[in-house]
């Protein structure tokens, strides 16, 4: 039971990172982006490639950091991967979503995002193979937090949680303390008024994709680090991430963060009563519950 709680918080941090980016896109560009979760796969695989590259170029980097199964090379690769994934998100927007947006067809964008998701997921499968991989073959030892009840936590999970929280704090500071953050929130509140006040809308849209892509890349790597890397990461995390945005209320960044943890907890606690085969259905149950009782989200901001 307590082990489920711990695991829920740890995986919740990953959902939260994905959901923050998704909720920003959904709020700014007004469409449910079904290809967002594929950015997690892009991030996970980009980091895999650069980890190999850095380790080959500078073998000392391949050493593990402390008790983590993560190498210095992977730590650097995460940063590169965040940049690459952000660029991928901007590129997809430029190639597909922007052109449909300019014709003013919101629902067609939802539709197009399904097509984009299919293409990205299967191209990754074609390039990297359909099997699973790991960043490191070594099996990291779990730390025993308590013997009775038995609670195990792997160092990688602790690292993932702290890194995710750090990213969220940085995002919070950027949004609440910088001019850029103010303009971003202004656009979210009222795009027309923000433009009159001199905010460059096009730049803000790019910024939203960059933030969403960067966070998604981190989430993808963290998921790969604590589970495994497959081309199906996007497919498997799509519903949990959507559930987190709906729990938090679409458009609410803090709601999405909290929603991520809540969905992680709920999905893990559900395994106490449900056979594990049913876990892919749990996010949908959460969505149904929220829509039945509080459709604007548990942490609804008045703007949701």
């Amino acid at each position: 039971m307590i082990q489920h709680l711990v695991d829920g918080v740890l995986v919740g941090a990953i959902y939260a990172l994905g959901a923050i980016g998704l909720t920003m896109v959904m709020h700014m560009l007004r469409f449910a982006n079904f290809s967002h979760a594929e950015l997690l796969s892009v991030g996970a695989y980009a980091a895999l490639v650069f980890e190999k590259l850095f380790s080959a170029l500078a073998p000392p980097l391949a050493a593990k950091i402390g008790p983590l199964s993560m190498s210095l090379a992977l730590a650097l690769a995460v940063l590169v991967s965040m940049a690459i994934t952000a660029a991928t998100a901007v590129l997809i927007d430029k190639l597909v979503f922007k052109r449909i947006r300019e014709r003013g067809e919101e629902l067609s964008m939802v539709f197009a995002s399904f097509g984009v998701a299919l293409i990205v997921r299967n191209v990754i499968g074609l390039v990297f193979g359909l099997g699973t991989t790991l960043y490191s073959r070594e099996i990291p030892f779990a730390m025993v937090l308590s013997l009775d009840p038995l609670i195990l936590v792997r160092p990688d999970q602790i690292f993932t949680l702290s890194a995710a929280l750090l990213l969220m704090v940085i995002l919070h500071l950027v949004l609440s303390r910088t001019t850029f953050g103010y303009s971003l929130r202004a656009v979210a509140e009222n795009p027309a008024l923000a433009q009159i006040a001199g905010v460059n809308l096009r730049r803000i849209v790019i910024a939203v994709w960059v933030i969403g892509g960067g966070l998604a890349a981190a989430a993808g790597v963290f998921y790969g680090l604590t589970n495994q890397i497959t081309p199906m990461i996007g497919r498997d995390l799509l519903m949990p991430v959507f559930a987190a945005t709906i729990v938090g209320g679409i458009g609410s960044i803090y709601g999405a963060a909290a929603g991520g943890f809540l969905v992680g907890l709920a999905a893990n606690l559900a395994l106490v009563i449900l056979p594990s085969g049913y876990s892919p259905s749990v996010p949908f149950l959460i969505i149904l519950l929220v829509l039945s009782f509080r459709p604007s989200g548990i942490f609804a901001s008045e703007r949701a």
Partner: protein
Amino acid sequence: MIGLLSYLVFFATVATILAIAVLGLNLQWGNTGLFNGGVAAFFGAGAYGTLILGGTPQAGHLGGFAMPYPLALLGGMAVAAALAWGVGRLTLKLRHDYLAIATFGVAVAFENVMRNAEWLSGGAKGLRGFERPLQEGIGSGLAYNALYLAFVASLLLLTYLFLERLVSSPFGRLLRAIREDEEAARSLGKNPAKVRLTAFVTGSVIMGMAGGLYATFYAFVSPQDVLPILTFQIWAMLIVGGAGNNRGAILGAFLMWGAWTASGWALSRHAPVEAQIYAGSIQYVLIGSVIVGMLLWRPQGLFPERLVVSQSGGATRPAPAK
């Protein structure tokens, strides 16, 4: 020769059944502007419903009510209606993305439950023990398949005629009015949420019928038949054919099903053995590219909706595929 003929009958039967599902989607998306991301669930509800109600008793899972075939098919459609009503009632009042997310979620959950709930659906092994109607009299050869093709083709025709009547009726005008300008429709005293729900359930019932016919044809259904790719295939058929145009939707279904089977055949025949496991991925990329490509370059489809403006002048304009 007989081989080719029976293959053509087989191909036409599946394409006809899928065309019925595309017509159901066209009512939702083409005429009403509702995004249904879970076609596979409503198709599957009809398929499982029909087989469970019409099948012979089986050990180990629900079913075997051995109902007369028309009742079983109607029952399958009712299961699809119930599912659509539940999802629609929760989401149709909200922002349009909620319907997209919830319907996609239904499809994921439906496939997941069918795969796991052995007592209900036979689990991953699927649902067996169904006897195709009239099979004893006709046998299971080409004659039966040709007759079955005639049966599904007449249902396709009936569905088409029903939808054409519906779309040109006052209710059809109301659907388009809500799609184009919800505020204006509301100001005329219409209730958009209720009308949307009606259109959503009707479309899903049609998908459920297609699913029931599909399961009848194979006398078998398993979770492999209700994977999300089915939703994308049906979407691609509609967008290729032209959302809003029922004849386009049918043509799109035959065209895309032809392209899908031809590409599958070409890949299995010409791709090297070690690349065979990637054939599916290549086909998925193709479907995704068709969807994105059509939306970018020809969003109105190959056969656009022909909107007749009911004022004098009778001007037509291409559909703003919304």
